[in-house]
């Protein structure tokens, strides 16, 4: 066993269609609790009450993008230690390095298979839990 199972995911995506299908996939297939938000501001409204275990953030959003949203959320006690996964269509070598420096666990590249998404997130989560166990965390 690698540790506690993942339950609560705070998901920020500005596109309503994608947010709906991804939320549906994570809830129906992954059995996760998902708080879907359309913006950084909406996420800030929900984060304390929801107390997420994982942050799932679209990178390219208007006004406040994914990396900036992560920085803002990390200032809240309820999300300061929650690991994050970014979703983006564009990943270049420099981007990955920048994201890793921000403590992002992994990046899911669009387009992704919505049916396979819960399994993909579960795998990333289990890898994260193993790394915590290995480091005695």
């Amino acid at each position: 066993m690698s540790g506690p199972t993942l339950s609560r995911i705070l998901y920020v995506e500005d596109d309503a269609d994608i947010r709906e299908v991804v939320t549906m996939s994570l809830q129906m297939l992954g059995k996760f609790q998902v708080a879907g938000c359309d913006s950084c501001a909406a996420a800030l409204d929900l984060v304390d009450e929801f107390n997420p275990e994982l942050l799932l953030l679209d990178v390219m959003m208007p006004d406040v993008d994914g990396p900036a949203t992560l920085r803002v959320l990390r200032e809240r006690v309820s999300a300061e230690s929650a690991p994050a996964i970014f979703i983006t269509a564009k990943v270049e070598a420099g981007d990955m390095q920048r994201y890793k420096k921000m403590g992002v666990l992994d990046v899911i590249v669009k387009p992704f298979d919505t049916m396979g998404l819960p399994g993909q997130i579960e795998q990333i989560w289990q890898r994260y839990r193993r790394s915590l166990n290995d480091s005695g965390g």
Partner: protein
């Protein structure tokens, strides 16, 4: 396939159909935004908003299995990025390329919508 898989597949198909049904309207709205920007080419915010909407359409297209829409939106997004990086507001040829990419996107949207409507029509025939 589990019951949850089947339910998800059904809901997903419903959402894809809804996405296709509004595609021509969505592309027309993008086209209107482009016309609005062409009349006010110094309004960088208009171009930025349009670029973001095209980016969203690219993502939604691939999520809902419309790779042709995603590909056409990607081309338009690239052409708009060229315009955005051009401090002079874009050369005539760059504008032409944007308009051509918008037409290609419109053509793809109409094609997918037409195919879907035909399938729906056939599905209702007894």
């Amino acid at each position: 396939m589990t019951a949850a898989d089947e339910e998800f597949a059904r809901e997903s198909a419903r959402m894809s159909a809804a996405f296709v049904a509004q595609l021509p309207r969505q592309v027309q709205a993008l086209s209107d935004d482009l016309v609005a920007w062409l009349s006010l080419p110094r309004e960088a915010a208009l171009l930025e908003r349009l670029s973001h909407k095209v980016h969203q359409l690219k993502g939604a297209g691939s999520t809902f299995g419309c790779s042709g829409i995603s590909d056409s939106a990607r081309v338009l997004e690239q052409r708009l990025a060229t315009l955005r990086s051009d401090a002079t507001g874009g050369s005539a040829s760059a504008m032409d390329e944007v308009e051509a990419a918008m037409e290609a996107l419109r053509g793809e949207a109409n094609r997918i919508y037409g195919e879907s409507a035909q399938r729906g029509h056939r599905g209702t025939q007894t």
